[in-house]
């Protein structure tokens, strides 16, 4: 059953979950409020009605156990897709992800494995309460044996989430909630996945490479247009799978343009932008015509809504930084 429909990123997540539940009866969905309520964002809307409460399970309020139960079920032949309601509540599961999910295969030399997905809405910019605007991708991207995937459009959300669910290893799938309703596009519910471990070119250009992921793609693309108008041609890359990081396309682009800016919303120090820069400084240093800059959240706690906008890396900062980088070379 193939349907094409215009949908937003949230709708695409819902489609992919429905498709996975439909195609493979070992797929289950669990989390707080994912059942009757369809998730606080409605990512799981209608799924329990369609697939029953044995496969779409409302859990008690216990994130660590949600992840740990997913681990246990995954080792015994299921493909759990667990939702953490907001990324701010994901920290109690790091232990389960790091010490168990990402290691069970290697600990047992392949005897047991852990094909599970941990989904969570992440990021700021939606005027949410305290602790609801976190960007923790760097914490997960440092964990060997784990994939960290972040979609930035409805189509990519659909295809990457399906790929994540079908992947034989654990995936942390972070959904930029600022994009949930930000753009709509046609998504064909054909069950086709998109490749993991593959950055995506969002725009081809000459002068400068802008590397980003998640909600920041919006600002980066906007900045790219402004820069184009000023005669600066940018190449925009959405990293999509942060870890394991395939730096080939990024380094290839930088070797072409000679300049690079990495943009992300998380705090700068120890953010995943550092890894991108380090790859470039290792592999493509001699191609660089200018310093590599990062436009990111500050090394502060993301403020409550009234000041939040001042924390988020904005289009203007990207444009300014690009101009500065151009001027430096």
């Amino acid at each position: 059953m193939t349907k094409m429909a215009e949908t937003d990123l949230l709708g695409a997540v819902n489609l992919a979950l429905g498709r996975a539940l439909q195609d493979d009866e070992t797929t289950i969905v669990l989390g707080e409020d994912v059942g009757v309520n369809g998730g606080v964002f409605r990512a799981t809307d209608g799924l329990q009605e369609k697939f029953g409460s044995a496969r779409v399970l409302d859990t008690p309020l216990a994130e660590c156990a949600i992840a740990g139960i997913a681990v246990g079920a995954a080792t015994q032949g299921f493909r759990p897709v667990a939702e953490i309601q907001f990324a701010g509540f994901i920290y109690p599961v790091i232990d389960q992800v790091l010490n168990h999910a990402s290691r069970l295969r290697t600990r047992t030399r392949g005897r047991l494995s852990c094909p599970m997905v941990l989904r969570a809405p992440y990021g700021g910019g939606v005027h949410a309460p305290e602790h609801h605007s976190e960007s923790p991708e760097a914490l997960f991207a440092h964990i060997p044996g784990l994939r960290v995937v972040i979609p930035s459009s409805p189509q990519r959300a659909y295809g990457l989430l399906l790929a994540a669910i079908r992947n034989p290893d654990p995936v942390v799938f972070l959904e930029p909630k600022r994009l949930y309703h930000a753009l709509r596009e046609d998504v064909t519910d054909d069950g086709k996945e998109l490749p993991l471990d593959q950055p995506v070119y969002l725009r081809q250009g000459r002068d400068i490479t802008l590397v980003t992921w998640g909600a920041s793609t919006l600002e980066v693309l906007r900045a790219a247009e402004q820069l184009e108008a000023e005669g600066i041609s940018t190449e925009v890359i959405d990293v999509a799978t942060l870890s394991p990081l395939n730096d080939e396309p990024i380094c290839a682009s930088v070797e072409k343009t000679g300049r690079c800016i990495v943009v992300h919303e998380a705090a700068r120090t120890g953010g995943f932008g550092a890894e991108i820069v380090a790859r470039i400084a290792d592999r493509s240093l001699t191609s660089l015509l200018a310093p590599v800059r990062r436009v990111t959240g500050y090394d502060t706690v993301i403020p409550l809504p009234r000041l939040e906008v001042k924390y988020m890396p904005g289009t203007r900062q990207i444009v300014d930084t690009a101009q500065e980088v151009m001027a430096l070379s």
Binding site: N37, T59, A62, P92, P129, P305, V309, Q317
Partner: protein, 382 residues
């Protein structure tokens, strides 16, 4: 409410099959109530509440809480407040618990305990500022040692144990009081903190505001335990239920527990039974997961009208008293709301200025950059 006799049959656990089985321990859970719906008295009111002025204070405070709640929702609906969790129907818990506390006790509230915070001396303006999205709302001028509200559910239980440890080490007789919901009892921290508090016999009171729902997850889906009070048994500490819509019961149970704790008898758990009459927050639509009928039935248990009915029946409260009180509360809430709305946004530098006691050298450049970038209102991702 169940009213089995004291020597009822065991509810759970293995039954003795033969001589191989020794009885090792027995536990009982009780539930306390003085005033039932419509203000009828089911048991003589306790000594501590013999003072009518106290009862009136409890009542006024509940009404203030409710008026505040209505205002907050109205402000949110008109775009002047952020997502807000209503405390409608649960006013007796915050009011009853906080009224029984001493100023030098320490409160660690969940995100829904505006009533307790108001009673503790957090101003309406501060509460609105916080829910309006401004950190200064947690810089209470009142109870300086109280915690800000806890958003990550249950993560404040260990803080409460830590605050209680500080009290114990200092040798004083104040108490740390933590309030959280039924959903919070599913989190590991709840049990970890309770267990350690038990071992160390910390001056800690844990109040569970069991409003029957954790967003869309019902109490029954949250745990198979018949009561939440019995979770205290796991930590070897006393646990009891109280009718959380009976302000007198909440106040009395808290008072007695605090006295026992001050006397060195260690931590205590109170499960206060109530019902969330509103949506989970202003971002929620409860009709997706529960019947309006269920909600209507619970209005019958409403703690505010219950105490009013009692006071009225005892001839301590009149229609005029009610009118005056409502006007007072509305006046106070409205003027505080005005004051809140007049508070300008913090400068960009505020992000940095309380991150550390002294801003580390490496962050100074970022602060300067942020101030420069932040001047421009176009900037930022929104």
């Amino acid at each position: 409410m169940n009213s089995k006799s004291n020597n009822a049959e065991p509810d759970d656990g293995a039954r003795p099959a033969d001589k191989a089985m020794n009885h090792v321990a027995r536990f009982d859970i009780f539930c306390r109530r003085y005033i039932e719906p419509e203000g009828n008295v089911v048991a003589e009111l306790p000594e501590v509440t013999s003072d009518v002025d106290l009862l009136k204070r409890l009542y006024r405070q509940m009404v203030l809480t409710r008026v505040f709640d209505q205002k907050a929702i109205a402000l949110q609906r008109t775009g002047r407040l952020g997502t807000y969790p209503s405390v409608l129907g649960q006013e007796a818990i915050g009011t009853g618990v906080a009224s029984a506390m001493r100023d030098d006790d320490v409160l660690l509230p969940s995100f829904r305990e505006h009533g307790a915070q108001l009673q503790r001396g957090v101003s309406i303006r501060e509460l609105l500022l916080y829910w309006g999205g401004d950190e200064r709302g947690s810089d209470f001028s009142g109870p300086r040692n109280d915690f800000p509200v806890c958003i990550p559910v249950g993560s404040h239980f260990p803080h409460a144990a830590g605050a209680a440890l500080a009290i114990k080490l200092r040798g004083s007789d104040n108490v740390a009081v933590v309030i959280a919901g039924d959903g919070a009892t599913s989190k590991g921290e709840f049990y970890e903190a309770l267990n350690i508090a038990g071992v160390w016999q910390l001056p800690l009171l844990v109040v569970i505001a069991n409003n029957q729902w954790a967003i869309s997850v019902s109490r029954k889906e949250q745990t198979r335990a018949r009561t939440l009070a019995q979770k205290a048994i796991a930590a070897g500490i006393p646990g009891e239920q109280v009718d959380g819509n009976d302000a007198v019961a909440v106040f009395t149970a808290t008072m007695e527990a605090l006295e026992a704790i001050r006397a060195g008898r260690g931590p205590h758990l109170i499960e206060a039974l109530t019902y969330r009459l509103g949506d989970h927050t202003t971002a929620d639509n409860a009709s997706r997961y529960r019947d309006d009928e269920e909600v209507s039935l619970h209005w019958h248990e409403d703690p505010v009208s219950r105490l009013r009915d009692y006071l009225t029946a005892q001839n301590h409260w009149t229609k005029e008293d009610e009118q005056t009180l409502l006007e007072e509360c509305r006046g106070q809430v409205d003027s505080e709301a005005e004051a809140y709305l007049a508070i300008p946004v913090q400068p960009v530098s505020a992000m940095f200025d309380h991150l550390f006691a002294v801003l580390p050298e490496p962050l100074k450049l970022q602060r300067e950059y942020a101030m420069e970038a932040g001047k421009d209102d176009q900037n930022g991702g929104n």
